[in-house]
Amino acid sequence: MSLHDLLIAPFSYEFMRRGLLSAMLLGVSGGLLGCVLVLRRLALMGDALSHSLLPGVAVAWLLFGTSTSALFFGGLVAGLLTALGSALLSRLTRVKEDAAFGSLFIVFFGLGVALISKLPTRINLADFLFGNVLGVGASDLRLAGAVSAGTVSLFAIFYRSILLETFDPVFHRATGGRGGLVHLGFLTLTVLNLVAAMQTMGIVLALGLFLLPAVSAYLWCDRFISMLLLSIAFAIAGSVVGILVSFHAGLASGAAIVLCLGAVFLVSVLFSPRYGAFRALRLGSVRPPAG
């Protein structure tokens, strides 16, 4: 097999180009957001969020049928209520943000399951909720492009606030920063990206793109900016290699991309010169879980 067959020929298909482009676009914004999620210990948020979308999608389906944009906004509203609701609860009450999130999402998920059991036909909502990277259409691509561009520009504009809020929220607030606002804005952006990613590319790939590149980058970098850039690079490289593996090996595409990103994570977590498992074992310095 020539190099051309291996690397170029697969992209003579339009669906391959579209799929790769949408994975790369949302990989860039997901890679950025993922870094903040990892550093702020909100890594499980995406997982929880994917469940909380269900009631929004069910209500949208009841009111507007299977229109893609209606389902998108239904999911978005439910996701925002969960994310912003738990952020507010953690500030107004004793409950910490992760517990608030865990509680709200499971209530939303329960509500979704209840609503679906009342739908006139028990059609498979997951089918409409979660896309497939090979099924990306023109409107999906526009959505991914808009969301990605918006995310990257907001990151560039508010870079300093995000940096401060991520590493030292107390200092940020003391120096007059609008910490709460930055946090809510960040959560909104995350929900928007996740809903777009899940709908265009499916849940496995969406969650993988948000988390794996960021965690891997975290193992190599000490500076925030280099972590952001490496995370984006991992996301893009994983998308390209993964979709090629899917093409040549005949594997489900979303899963193939996630497995490539998983390989990067595995190598990083084992062999990272400063923070990897092997170094710790060699030096005999098993650190207590960072607290």
Partner: protein
Amino acid sequence: MKAFLALAMLGLGAVACSAQDARERPLRVVTLSTVLSEIAREVGGDHVVVVGLVRPGVDPHTFNPSPADIRAVADADVVLASGLSLETYLDRLVAGSGSNARVLAVGDALPSPISMPGAPGDGEKDPHWWHSLNDMMLATDIVRAEFTRARPACAVGFSSNARAFQARIQSLKAWAAGEIDKLPPGRRHLVTSHDAFGYLARDYGFEVHAISGLSTDSEADARHLANLVDLVRRENIPAVFAEDSANPRLVENLVRETGVRLGATLYADGLGPVGSGAETYEAMFRHNVRAIVEALSAP
């Protein structure tokens, strides 16, 4: 004259059964497919009460029984399933309901199910048998035998009902053969969302090229989709088809990529809802055949 005879026998059968069997309550039948509901109603007539758990438009591959469904199974005398591993939840559903009903997986009793290539040993079988009119007639007999076992007094009524239904399928068969004959052999390619039309293909000499596998659940890969794009171009396939209960996204991408026509939506996993024009078995089958012939014979 034939029709008259059949009608007369139907009347006789019904009279005979109700006379001997007036005190017995109707047989309670729960089905897990819209097609089986229709067979049960046609064969059982007034002597059965049919409850269909999987409603039209619901994907039977991912069907999720509710408490009301489990209660219906608990009260049933007979449970009819499509079989051939379509209802992966069947054992749990029946065991969980504590039902003493007889469970009949109709597809498992068919003589020649399609085996899927590549499956080791016993092998996976294609569970979408209702797309074969011959198997549909055999299934009618299997259901008739089961009802007769449960209500021997109604045997005559059940067989005349079954024969009447089979006669209708027989005439559907003649019509379908005539329609499909309009398609030249070179045009008999069925590109669909999931692998549901193996039986139709076997009976009428089509080649099926499905985007995903036997279940709507299995995810397609890039290689496979690329092969389908090549195939559509190479064979000059004029149209591809989406299905009522499967996600149309990948089919739409195939259409966009190759410029092929999108045929009318096929009913792959059961009957359509009221008003769809596919709410009975015969209407569903006619709809599918018409959609296929119309789209594939276009220049």
